[in-house]
Structure formats: structure tokens, C-alpha cells
Symmetry: C3
Subunit: 342 residues, 3 copies
């Protein structure tokens, strides 16, 4: 599949859900469901995937490694103890600075060693305008000769989006017209907006009625919202935003809790901390969940218990949280099978 930035030459990447057609996403989810319910076969014996984590990861990395193992393949951790953190990304530079290697050369060489590259790119954290470009993961996709899989960039977390869609289909059934509320919740240590972005895209693909609830100042990326509205226009999905939590969960079939940092205060930790301290009551409890329509709770984890969501909800029958995390494994197996099987 050709990329807007000219990468590809027939190499299919998975850097965002939009890299696949809606039909391909359907096929992926069908495959994930089948792989979940039958023993895995060693379809990827002898194949290796190189993993490049420029930021730490637990669930994404371990579910991905377990998926590759179950399929008979292996993973190689490439970033550990290397000087890989200083790759040059710009073209034509005289490389007399810190970076000892150009991403163009690293990507070409690693492509000859492994069957795919799974990359969690670094995030500068200085400017949202810069980080939202996802320059690093796009450079890997441009130069690699094998599929590049996004293990969570600043803008997108497509593997989480896939697992979320799989979980929604399993527990809500037909998604068209069902009500999903993405609820911003307080956390002393908010996550990135990538999970929220990929969820909105996935829910729009599925034709859901989406409400996003967050305090003022926590607006999601405008470019992402434009993409989501474009997809919604083709599927009948709806997207509304609210700045009040109670009404936003009214009648919801699913409440998806997520804490994300303010993109407006992105470069200002002090302002960011003082802003979010004002919204400590943005927490999901049983009283709130009761306003939904037999509502289920989703959360991408890690979760701060009794800060983001109460124990009562998490340990009760409404919670899909652990099942959703398990589906990371099965959706990763489906993606790897689709990308790597001969």
C-alpha cells in the first residue's frame, strides 16, 4: 500500500489504522477472533521481528512478543544498549554532530535481517506541533524494506485501536449506532493522546455514536478529529464533544476511561499540573456507570485504581479491562500473520 510520503513500493506498513482499508481491518478482526479460539500454529517459524522501543513498554511489548512466540517466530530487541537513540532523520546533512548513523542506513540494513520492524518512536515532548508530525515512525516506514509496525507514536496507537475494536465487537455485538463515551479522567501522570485518537478512529470506522467528554483545555488533536469526521461521513458514525461528564455517560453502552495530557499545555509541565489538579473529580464510579445503558467499562491500562476508576467498577461485572488487555495478544497475532505469512 502506497504512503502519502512516498514510502512503500508495495511494502504494507501498520503505522495507523488508516494504513489499512476498512475491509482489511474487518479481515484482521475476523482472523483475530479465529486465532483466539484455536491453538496457534507455527506459521512464522524462522521469521524474526526487530523491536525498537525508544520508550518503555510493558503490555504492548509483552503481548507482541508472546504473539510472535505463539506463531513460532522470534523477536529481537534492537534498541537495548545501543547508540540508537541518536539516529539522524533529516536528508542531506553533514553528520558531524551527535548522531552516528542515519535512519536511512539503519532501516535498510535491519530490513535485511528481520521480516518486520516494530517501532515505538521517541517523543520529544517540547512541542505538540512537532510531535504530532510523527516524523520518526514515518521515516522508518519511508526507508524500511519490510513492514513497519507502530508500537505507539505521539499521534496514534493502532494496535490498541485494533484490540479495542475486537473487544467492542465481542461484548457489545453489532456496533453500528451503539453509544461509546470516551471519558477523560484525572491522573497525576496522564498518558499520551494516542490511545484516544486511535479509539475514535476505530469507533468511527464501526459507525458508533461517539461522545468525547473532557474538561476545557483537553481537546484532542484537530487533525485527528478531521480524519475521524471524514471516516464518520462514510459509515454513519457521529462524533460530539462535551465538557461535562455526567450527561456524557447518559445512555452509553460503553464508557472508555482515559487520562491524556493537555495538548495546549504540552510544553509546560507546571501549567499542565495545575490545570489537571482542578479536575480530580473526573473519576469513574458505580454511580456514574449506572447512568449508562447497561454500560461496560473499558480502559487501555495501566490504571490508577480509585483515581481514574474505583475498585468497585474495576472488579465488578461491568469491567472489560482485563479482557481488552488479553485481546492485545490475539489482535497482534492476526496482524503479524497478515503481514508476514508468505
Amino acid at each position: 500500500m502506497a504512503h502519502a510520503d512516498g514510502s512503500g513500493d508495495g511494502v504494507r506498513h501498520f503505522t495507523r489504522l488508516d494504513d489499512f482499508t476498512p475491509q482489511q481491518i474487518e479481515d484482521l478482526l475476523d482472523l483475530a477472533r479465529r486465532l483466539k479460539h484455536k491453538p496457534a500454529r507455527p506459521d512464522l517459524a524462522g521469521r524474526s521481528v526487530g523491536m525498537l522501543f525508544f520508550r518503555p513498554s510493558l503490555r504492548t511489548r509483552s503481548s507482541f512478543e508472546a504473539a510472535m512466540n505463539q506463531l513460532g517466530g522470534r523477536t529481537i530487541a534492537l534498541a537495548a544498549a545501543s547508540d540508537f537513540w541518536d539516529l539522524e532523520v533529516r536528508e542531506g546533512r553533514v553528520m558531524d554532530g551527535k548522531a552516528p548513523e542515519h535512519i536511512r542506513d539503519a532501516a535498510a540494513v535491519l530490513s535485511s535481517y528481520v521480516s518486520a520492524l516494530a517501532v515505538r518512536p521517541p517523543v520529544e515532548g517540547q512541542s505538540w506541533e512537532v510531535d504530532r508530525q510523527d516524523a520518526h515512525i514515518r521515516a522508518w516506514a519511508r526507508y524500511a524494506k519490510v513492514p513497519v509496525i507502530n508500537m505507539e507514536s505521539a499521534l496514534w496507537h493502532p494496535l490498541q485501536g485494533l484490540a479495542d475494536l475486537m473487544t467492542l465487537r465481542e461484548h457489545v455485538g453489532s456496533l453500528r449506532g451503539k453509544r461509546l463515551t470516551l471519558a477523560w479522567v484525572h491522573s497525576p501522570q496522564p498518558a499520551s493522546a494516542a490511545v484516544a485518537h486511535s479509539l475514535l478512529f476505530a469507533a468511527a470506522l464501526a459507525g458508533m455514536h461517539i461522545r468525547v467528554a473532557h474538561p476545557a483545555g483537553y481537546e484532542l488533536d484537530e487533525g485527528v478529529l478531521t480524519d475521524v469526521r471524514r471516516v464518520a461521513g462514510t459509515t454513519g458514525a457521529e462524533l460530539e464533544q462535551q465538557e461535562e461528564l455526567e450527561s456524557a455517560v447518559e445512555g452509553a453502552h460503553v464508557v472508555y476511561a482515559r487520562s491524556w495530557q493537555s495538548l495546549g499545555d504540552y510544553d509546560n509541565a507546571t501549567l499542565s499540573a495545575s490545570r489537571r489538579a482542578r479536575f480530580k473529580d473526573w473519576r469513574i464510579d458505580e454511580r456514574l456507570m449506572a447512568r449508562g445503558d447497561d454500560a461496560r467499562l473499558m480502559h487501555a491500562m495501566p490504571i490508577r485504581r480509585n483515581v481514574e476508576v474505583t475498585d468497585e467498577v474495576l472488579d465488578g461485572p461491568r469491567s472489560l479491562v482485563h479482557l481488552q488487555a488479553e485481546n492485545r495478544l490475539h489482535s497482534a497475532k492476526a496482524l503479524l500473520t497478515m503481514l508476514l505469512r508468505h
Copy 2:
């Protein structure tokens, strides 16, 4: 096997030798012997074990990984470059502090990715009363839905105990009534008492006559000694303690050298260093070994040559040290086979 703290629901853990019945330990040792002498078969193909090392390890980790590899399975290093060091262990907390995740959620999710969890828990080192509770490994066993294997906690090192028992059976033959001397030795950097504890338990299971020799102030954990005496009561084992090395090795069939830190000075590095400096002559040499009954030397390694034991003994015919380390591999294969084979 049900645990005292309510964990389990049929999941069999290996957090201490006592988690298995004496007959199960016998079966494990028989299996280890068979696996040592025939080529391994890929009985665990497609299975993964997650490894959580909160403290460094060489022999335990590498023998375990090699064992899993020989059986056709794989290991996944979970703690590398994650924020896993700050898991909340207590129930019902409002998690607004440092820990971003509860062990309950981490254990549940990881249980859906891997077939077992191999954990070397963190040790606080502030209070023996606290550390001896082994709270961390017990929490993993409580919440995990797959077997938890203790890769050495503050209190126990059951994998070492298993390899030690295997080595004793190979080189001493029938163990009932044989004399084993556990000899404290000096080291500028003493190890934990976990190896000594599991050795005593193993030797008691085997009905050996055990002498523990150490300077005053190096008494082992009283709760462990109670457990050991309880087992000794059922097997005919004997346990005596001495504060003098020469007489303790008199007539011994096996001298097991080990340096452990004083549990009394546990939280006081200065006091601890000045205490052990007084016992630099607690070292095993050939003259001492000659007092035994054709005595063999054992040591769990790493070993400081000519400080803990002299080169002459280590490189001579009495030493079982390398053979004992090799048996870490074979006993790990037996344990993994027993826990994971369908």
C-alpha cells in the same frame, strides 16, 4: 495446590520447596535425572514464560532461559525498561502516588500472555521483619492465573534447593543419615540467606544430619528453622548449630560453603561490615576439608576465590561446584516440564 493465603484456585506455584509435597519433589528429581541424560524434546513448543527480574541475576536467569529453550519454549523479559519497579501491592489504595499500576492488574494481564511467571522480587533491605514476609512474590502468586516460580526471594531460593538436592543424590548417594555441614564463610559482599534456607529445607526433606556453623550473630531465620525442624521430625533428619568451624566439618560427607549477611544487622551496613571483618578466617581450605569423611565441597556461586574457598579445594577433586551449577539447568527443565506440560 491451595495456598495458605488463599491464592491458587488450582494453580500450582513454586515459590518455596514446601509448595510441593515430598513425593512431588521426588518426582521432580527423578525427571531432572532423566532429562539430564537424554536429548530434550520440544514439549513446550509455543509456550512462553515471562521473566520479571527486579534484581540482577546471571546463573538463575541463564540456566532458566537455556532450560526453556531446550524444551522448545521461549522466555520474555518483562521488567526491562518498564516502570514495573513501582507496582502497588496493597489492596484498596487510592493510587495517587508513585505506582502507576496495581500488581493485581499486571498479574492478571500477564497471565493471559504467558504460561508461567518467573519472578525475582525486589528486596527492600531496610528491615528483616518486613523482607522475611516475602510479600511481593506472595502477591504475584495470589493474583496470577498461571504458575509463579520464585527466582530467589529474601527468604527462599527453591530452584537452588532443587539443584542442590539433585547434586547431593548424584554424588553422595542415599542421603538418609549422611552428614552435611552448612559452613558460613567470610565475604566482603555477603549474599542473602535464601540459599541457606532452601538448602536446610531440602536436606531435612532428605533426612540428612545437618550441622550449621556460623559466628555469633549470623543465626538464620527463626521461622525457617521452625519449618526445617518440623520437616526433620517427619524424615528423621537432625539439625544442630555450632559457632566453631573446625569441629563442625568433622566427619562431614559434604561441606556447603555460603556467605550470608547477618539478619540482626540487616538494616545497618556499618555494623554489618565491622562484624564480618572479625571473621576473615572463616574460609574453607584443604586442611579443613581433610577433617571430613571424604568430604565434597558445594557452593551456590558466585564464589570469591581464596576468600570463601581456596583455589586448591575449588580446583581439586572434592569440588562439586561446577556440577552443582550445571544441575540448575536440568532441575529447571524438570520443573518447567512438570508445571507447563499439558
Copy 3:
């Protein structure tokens, strides 16, 4: 194969190209070529190689891991998060210092867990006279009971030498009498001389006419040059040195660019930096390459673009750089097959 320092007892190591006979090198290269052009078979199923990287690595480690994976075997990273950095190497010491373990014991035990040990030893960087002894890798070879593979020591990088020879044979054809210019190039962060040393040895084996071009003060190791001249005497190879770049590439079939640190200023970073600042014009560009005889460019990577070699050359038809890196994979597969296949 017996080693000069008494190691071996029939264990065949690969710590330098000289550990193998010329015929064995030929066989290795033939096997590498065959393995490159047919699907790998799981000849090493159930076998593990332990990897000990005391310095970071990207290409060497990842090509080696991918090679082992393709052959059905596994790698175990042994040095991660261990106290392995402080192994005692000297015999007979009272080990009351920093090192908690002797390399003799570590090597013996690890030999019982894995089928080979792949070691990138530490380099002190204080004295070339000391580092050129390669004491660390030699100690591993002395004590290990399984093959030891040198993943780049201070003096040699035999795996790179093997891949270079394979690449030369593929793209230059018959090597006897062909002209190879090893060209020192400027870099703000020069590499070690190990790659240059193994290249010279390999080219001498192949009977090439070798020119080494470098500014005054960048002479390669005299002991290595003596070894190279000895081999050249048996193969008809020639070796000359020049202190001028333009004439050195005249008529060359291959230009091999490499930046290495001055062995004379080895212990003096300030002197070393001011010396190399004088030679910023030692850079390979198209004008220079045109002086060769349809010359090809080689480089062991990582490469600082437009500092060591210009983009024009690197991205043009003369460059063998990525192909050369790919051959690291195939030559590693050949070596592992030869050392480990029953």
C-alpha cells in the same frame, strides 16, 4: 584447534580469522553463499548461544541473533543487568576486591548451559599496549568448554572480516591481484582499529594487492601488520602504506573507507581530537572514486554521511555498503552452522 595460550582441548574458537585454516575459511565462505540463496533449515533447533556484550552493538548483535533464529536456535543475553562487568581474569588472586566472580568459573558454568559463547569484551582504553593483548577474549577462550566467538575485541573483528571477504568475492570476483585501498577517513568519533585489522588479514588471505592510506600518526598495530605480511608471503598478496589519499585510490578496484583512532594517542583524548581535526579533508567523494578502476565502495558502518563518505557515493551504484551489512547475516549463519552442527 589448539591455541597458543593452551586453550582448546579440541574446542574450536573463532576469536580471530587465524583460528581457522585458509581452507576452513574457504569452506565457510562457500557455505555462506549457499545459505544466502536457499531457505534456512532449523539445523540448530534446541541449541542456545549465550551473548556477552560488554560494549553496545547494533549490527553485530542483531545480525547474529537473526542468524541464530533463522537456523532454529536461540540466543540468551547474559550480560544484561548482571554484575558481569567485574569478572576477575587473573589466576591465583585473593578475590577480596570488586570482582565477585572469576572468569574461570563463569566460563565453565555458562559452557554447561549454552552451545557457544559470543563475546564482545570490554576495552579499557587506557593503554594500547594493554588492550592489544585481547586478554579478556583470550581468557574466555581459555576457560570455556564450548566455542567462543569474538564479537569484536580491541584487536580483531573476525565476523566483519568474514562478511567483507564474502562481499568482495561476490562483487569483485577472483580476488588474487585485485587492488584494495583501505582509506582512513575523518570522523568526530573514530572507531576502533579492529575492523581495519581483520580486513587486512582477510585481503592478505585472498592474495589482494593492498594499499593502506592514512595520515601520519594513524599507523595500524605493528603486530597485526607482521601477521598480515606473513600471510601475504604465502598467498602472493602485497601490502603498502601511503600517507596521501588521492594517489592511494588510483586504479583501485575497491575503496574501503574506515575511521580509526590513532593508536599513538590512544590514552590521550585531547591530543587525539586535535590530531584528527587536521584531517577533515580525508573524505570519500565521487571525484576521488573516479580515480579507481570502476571502483566499489565498502564501509563497515555505522557511517557518518557527508563526513566520511558523501551521499552521492553512498547512494550511487558504486556502494556495496548495505550489501556488505546484509552479508553479516549470511556469514554468521555459516559460522554458527560450522561450529554448532553436530
